[in-house]
């Protein structure tokens, strides 16, 4: 009797532990911090709904599925399976990370110029805000295929850097830089509104950049 209740207790504990573990690993689609139409006329509501509700949601779903596959491969000590799933985790995990940053990098009250420590850092590392903006625009527009333009922070040298990453490669694991501001130039980010005219989209997006969020990301890591 005692043995049986003991085993029921440990079974329950194991089951709850497994459920908690699975629950912890489920990523969820974060809410947009503003209405889908809030960024018009820079980014249309139609694009925001598709970009957030379809593309980002797909990354989240696929990331969850890939992590489940990774779990089962790890548990069954299937090394080939563990290695094979890495690509999917990079694509979808990167997509989830990048877009989660992106929605907060933008705001209907954004635009204008940064202030305070962020502006000082930009002026120190680039010369002026206009030079920084021109460099980031040029590099972002020049990405071949799909990718992101980033303003990143190099911790070791305490400086800001403008760089790009292909596809959904996340900035930090790929380059070591801390992401501050990202601009998505996958065609799905602008095509319905700007068609093939990517430079117009990148030039306009500066009007909705949320400098408070960018400044906060910088102060968090300094």
């Amino acid at each position: 009797m005692l043995a049986r209740s003991g085993s029921v207790f440990s079974w329950t504990r194991r089951a709850l532990g497994a459920a908690a573990k699975t629950f912890r690993q489920q990523h969820t689609l974060p809410e947009l911090p503003y209405a889908a139409t809030a960024l018009e006329p820079v980014i249309s509501g139609e694009i925001m709904e598709l970009h957030h509700g379809k593309h980002h949601a797909t990354y989240v779903n696929n990331l969850n599925a890939a992590k489940e596959q990774l779990q089962s491969a790890l548990q069954s000590k299937d090394e080939n399976g563990v290695i094979a799933i890495q690509k999917a985790i990079k694509f979808n995990g990167g997509g989830h990370i990048n877009h989660s940053i992106f929605w907060n990098n933008l705001s209907p009250n954004g635009g204008g110029l940064p202030i305070g420590a962020l502006l000082e850092a930009i002026e120190r590392d680039f010369g002026s805000f206009d030079i920084f903006r021109a460099e980031m625009t040029a590099k972002t527009v020049g990405i071949q295929g799909s990718g992101w333009g980033w303003l990143g922070y190099e911790k070791g040298k305490n400086r800001l850097v403008v760089t790009t990453c292909p596809n959904q490669d996340p900035l930090q694991p790929t380059t070591g830089l801390i992401p501050l501001l990202g601009i998505d130039v996958w065609e799905h980010a602008y095509y319905l509104q700007y068609k093939n005219v990517r430079p117009e989209y990148v030039n306009k997006i500066w009007d909705v950049v949320n400098w408070d969020d960018v400044a906060k990301r910088l102060s968090d890591v300094q």
Binding site: K54, T58, N61, A65, Q144, Y191, K195
Partner: protein, 313 residues
């Protein structure tokens, strides 16, 4: 089905034997790819071999217009600029004076900064020519003749080929193309290339291609790449593919001694009832993607999740 094939064979025009015979009735736009093996000071952007609305409802007019007039033209302009600059700055270079095909085949011999520009824009120029030329509406959309035999032998049938090709297109992450290519030994295979990379740079001969850059489908299908792939099968122009295959063989000096194959009139309009076979394949491909196994039975995925790639959500 056998009746349909018989009717098609009976519709064959009487043509002289030889690979150039069917080109008499073709527009120059149908064989625009042939200019890549010639040296040109300036490669002209080729027109489409059909009107912008000719592929409706499979590929819509708005998409074709931006794709051809916007993207393709930009690649052409930038490629010509890069070639001109390179030829001016490096007048001794033999490679610079050769054809676009030779340049793309030997990209490592192109010095920077022109190599990246030519790889991306030359690739964009060539890849889109093949893409536009291998689409046509209301023609028989299945491989015929030797190509059919190759597809059957390599993939176990046209539907299996469609599945494999479609899977490759669905799973390609980011921007790129899915190709049916042939190699020196006449083996055919399905490959991917990223961005504007061309199979020519890998020593392969492109036959059929599907552009899966988002600009190829976003205006019509938005994020639903699977829908785009399903619809594209309705305009996959196997006649052009056979023609291209013959042309590549001529280019590499691998022609057949005697051409006793039936000559097909590829651009002959096929009546609706004869289209059944290609429609079935397309519908089956689309339907498969919407279904998942739940409790031992095949069920439709809930609508909201159909666009996502996860098998179970």
């Amino acid at each position: 089905m056998a009746g349909g094939v018989t009717v098609c064979v009976l519709l064959v025009s009487v043509l002289a034997v030889g690979s150039s015979s069917s080109t008499d009735q073709l527009l120059p736009e149908d064989t625009a790819y042939e200019m890549i093996t010639e040296y040109r000071d300036n490669y002209p952007p080729p027109n489409l071999p059909y009107a912008y609305d000719a592929l409706e409802p499979f590929v819509n007019e708005a998409t074709l217009k931006v794709h051809h007039q916007g993207h393709h033209r930009a690649y052409c302009t930038k490629m010509n600029a890069a070639l001109k600059e390179w030829r001016k700055q490096d007048p001794e270079s033999q490679l610079a004076k050769s054809s676009l095909y030779d340049i793309m085949k030997n990209l490592s011999g192109v010095p920077e900064p022109w190599r990246t520009a030519i790889r991306n824009n030359g690739g964009g120029f060539i890849n889109h020519i093949f893409y536009f030329v291998t689409m046509r509406n209301k023609v028989y959309t299945a491989p015929m003749g030797e190509l059919a035999k190759q597809v059957n032998a390599t993939f176990g049938g046209y539907e299996r080929f469609m599945e494999e090709f479609g899977e490759a297109a669905r799973n390609l992450f980011g921007s790129g193309y899915v190709w049916l290519v042939e190699d020196e030994e006449r083996n055919i295979s399905i490959i991917n290339t990223a961005n504007q990379d061309s199979p020519i740079s890998d020593g392969l001969y492109p036959l059929l291609v599907l552009d899966v850059w988002e600009h190829a489908y976003y205006l019509q299908h938005m994020n639903r790449r699977t829908n785009y792939i399903g619809k594209w099968w309705g305009v996959a122009h196997w006649g052009a593919v056979s023609r291209i295959q013959e042309w590549w063989r001529k280019v590499r000096g691998d022609e057949d001694e005697e051409d006793d194959e039936e000559e097909y009139d590829w651009e002959k309009e096929v009546p609706e009832e004869k289209m059944r076979r290609s429609m079935i394949g397309r519908k089956r491909f689309q339907r498969k993607r919407r279904r998942v196994e739940v409790g031992g039975k095949m069920r439709d995925k809930p609508r909201a999740t159909r666009s996502c790639n996860s098998p179970l959500v």
